[in-house]
Symmetry: C2
Subunit: 605 residues, 2 copies
Amino acid sequence: MNKVICDRLAALRAKMAANGIDYYLMPTSDYHNSEYAADFFKVREFFCGFTGSNGTLVVSKDWAGMWTDGRYFIQAEREMEGTGVTLFKMGEEGVPTISEYLEKNMETGEVLGFDGKVVPAAEGLSYEKKLSKKKIKIRYDKDLAMEVWTDRPALPCNPIYVLSDELCGKSFEEKLSDVRKVMDENNASAYLLCKLDDICWLTNLRGNDVECNPVILSYLFVTKKNVVLFVQIEELNDEVRKYLEAKNIEIMPYNRIISWLDEYEYEGITLYDERNVSYQVYRTVADNAKNVGATVKNILDPTEMLKACKNEVELKNIREVYIKDSAVLTKFIYWVKQAAGKEDLNEYTAAMHLDAMRAELPGFIELSFPTISAYKDNAAMMHYEATEEANAKIKPEGFLLVDSGATYMGGTTDVTRTIVLGPLTDEEKKHYTLTTVGMLQLANAKFLEGCCGKNVDILARIPLWNIGIDYKCGTGHGIGYMLNVHEGPHSIRWRSRSVEDEAPLKEGMIVSDEPGVYIEGKHGIRIENIIEVVKEFKNSDGQFLGFRHLTYVPLDLDAIDTKYLQPKDIEAINEYHKAVYEKIEPLIEESEIKAWLKEATRPIQ
Amino acid sequence: MNKVICDRLAALRAKMAANGIDYYLMPTSDYHNSEYAADFFKVREFFCGFTGSNGTLVVSKDWAGMWTDGRYFIQAEREMEGTGVTLFKMGEEGVPTISEYLEKNMETGEVLGFDGKVVPAAEGLSYEKKLSKKKIKIRYDKDLAMEVWTDRPALPCNPIYVLSDELCGKSFEEKLSDVRKVMDENNASAYLLCKLDDICWLTNLRGNDVECNPVILSYLFVTKKNVVLFVQIEELNDEVRKYLEAKNIEIMPYNRIISWLDEYEYEGITLYDERNVSYQVYRTVADNAKNVGATVKNILDPTEMLKACKNEVELKNIREVYIKDSAVLTKFIYWVKQAAGKEDLNEYTAAMHLDAMRAELPGFIELSFPTISAYKDNAAMMHYEATEEANAKIKPEGFLLVDSGATYMGGTTDVTRTIVLGPLTDEEKKHYTLTTVGMLQLANAKFLEGCCGKNVDILARIPLWNIGIDYKCGTGHGIGYMLNVHEGPHSIRWRSRSVEDEAPLKEGMIVSDEPGVYIEGKHGIRIENIIEVVKEFKNSDGQFLGFRHLTYVPLDLDAIDTKYLQPKDIEAINEYHKAVYEKIEPLIEESEIKAWLKEATRPIQ
């Protein structure tokens, strides 16, 4: 028996009883549906022991169940052993969804409780709808964990800083005017923005409240005349205060959001995006608006598309930052290829080495995400993470996959190279070569304006599909400007997850191009360049778009088998390598690395 | 002044006044929204002179306007000269839609009239919605043309015939059972099917009531126990009557559909597809159902997907028919290449020659569509049609584009070849070569089950997009089995027109693969093979699909410039030509054609 967990669950159940809650639900999210959640938000982990990145725990007075997806079945079973919590394997046949389970097992008139600030509106509304038939009440104003978890970590609270208009290319006022245009088009009086990176983009502020994302825990409420920013007051210094005053942005304490929205005098239409607003925020706005005859309207956050199409200044800075970052990775590749077999290296120490190299670059702020360093068959696991304690030793053979990046003053990078450390199998070479073909084929395509990622995805995938291999993820994602390494609305994937995934590719967007091969127990290959959408030719057939590389890091010719290449593929590799050499060589001082780079980017036939 | 038209409009206006109708609207459609409409339905042409395939005429007591699209602006202006009818250029800036025009110009309480049997439900409903604000009434039960157009052609009325279960691969009962499964899934008591090719597919009947489509003017009403077929009684012979009796299909006169639907005792849910039902039929069903507390439900006709996935018998027959049809076209290509410059040939006589060759094949029923024969720059016009009176003379130079096909016992074909008749420009060769690359690249692709046309379209298009050329149409359409040459739900196009265009490609579907280049004033190139969706490999990454050619007609090596080809493209051409020779040579008797075919399908380097 896992006594720690059982005791915690008992304490939770006592609080549930005291509050008249029959079932209590704990998802994996912060207040803003962010990709990464701080320790403060790890309530589900606290009450069941499961540490994965996706899971929802539901507890009743005599039962507890935890829902997670296929990536985590084994891990969840292991971590929850002895807790008495039942694992529900999402997506498996016969396994009910949470709604289905609750609908079947809750009694008429019972109460479902959750912290409405961490449950997305869409999810809360679906429980509401599903359970209303059984007259089940929802209580969403109680964060019971607060009362049980006595040594709960504090909410992240880190200094905010201001980016200059010069660095952002557009002032807050200009961006606000674009947002208000959308409000006018929707006849809206107000707009509630809850998405952290969008708030940072709009205000030209940055912070450090989410791991690897330079964002601020905040909400922004925009009316035709006013802008109110909800932040933790402790995060503000004088410079930021002055900036906010100059921009006429009113400051309100972060934890006052609900009471403020509760007291606000709504009129006309208030806009929100149901993907990004929590259930409690939604309920507060919608119920209060309704009470005074005002309305709410769900839209796709207009900031998302505005933020995705980088402006000229951002693009100029991004291009420069990517070259600097590419040079660092190039040097790392040289180093790790030399060091493998000589030094006592493992996946983790190799990652640390790269992270340290990046941290030395001027303008370095933080990593874009924890560096993925995966050796041999570990790279076949898409969510593999080596740690100081658990990692593989690096030997002079096979592939090392390194997926990494950082946020610098001037941009956020993301790049993957699969590095040859020694002898490869023919199959490894074949897979590496075809992954390269796909990556370059997509990057070199010209396509008509109006195309979305779904139209072009197959260009990266077809060399692998033709031999019966698929990588079970998208080909590409958008990337922020000194912001989150994953951002929308665009993506490159062959199956859309939802309507907003159908966003067209537009000039100034940047997107990753990262096909791969993942063979369980054997090897994992991913080659990721970031590419920029640019205008090509325009004629009576329309405006053609294309891509331009931002990433300039050598592909590994040691893994290229020319028998899988067409002349145009060879030309594409040589052309890319020529550009890599021209752009990176000037940033390298050491003559032996220069010589190696020359060789690593040599034309092949 | 065009006295004929003016007199007709005056007579129409008199009838409008007599019936209390202020505005009368005449679209281009038959009772079933078919692709081709019989002369009986050419009411719009009768009242304004415009003969194009898309246009809606609206007449008031002192004004008339005709809406058409960009293909027809010049033609419509010419044909309507002196009629006093105003041309509305659809899609041009500032040009109102019909709804907008009516909303602005009709007075409160006025009456809009149209024949509700030729206006699709969705269109009628949109007028209803838009005009209800001004309390405008809609009168849809009057076909005023009937009273004015005294020598109106009769409704097509041609003999029906029965296809054997052996020829269809599935009996009516089996198909009906599949349809009733969908009714059960929808908890439906009844299903009204209005789409002609779907009715023919379901009943295994064929007819000849629409040009080039072997269909029957009909409606089908299916309940849990009964099936009622509405047809023109004159179309039935004893064999068909016996068949219908044996299958328990009740016969009702075609023109009784409205009164029958008016008297039917609705209960529960009646299914219909709003794309295929006319406004009058919809209103009759919906209003009567509502009156007795029953409901109607809009679904995508389930017959569409069932019909699209050909069964094993259909596929076997289709494969054979395509080989025979390919042999005929191959012989024609030989003939026209020889004859050009020697015989007195024009586009029209060349088409007649091909049509006659097809008509001699055993099992020939009719052409799939009027043969397109377009020489040189005429081929750049996508809707060009040579006639006996207006056509271009064929000389021993440039390209002749021939798009043709036929329905035979065992299948409906469609194929396009662009034939070299003499010297070409370098540009023509480049465009022909890249069109070939695209056609074969799509045909040879392997892709995961779940892909729709939108995912794969770019494979055919990218060789042309890469040089800044687009063909402004889809890459492919489905094709019926002894039915319409265009059928859904699948298609291959990069932009979907609507949700139903997103149908996944499934095993047994057949689809065209027809990229092209259309350069105004210069040349038109289209290469069209029909391909069948087949299963390839299945593994842990999923079920991979691919295509198999149905069409085996030589590509024209005289137009191939190998400098635009990669080795894999050359391999693809040679592989295809090897198959063409193997399959077609045995069907050719003449030794000189055999010799030519050998040469025409020779491997290139």
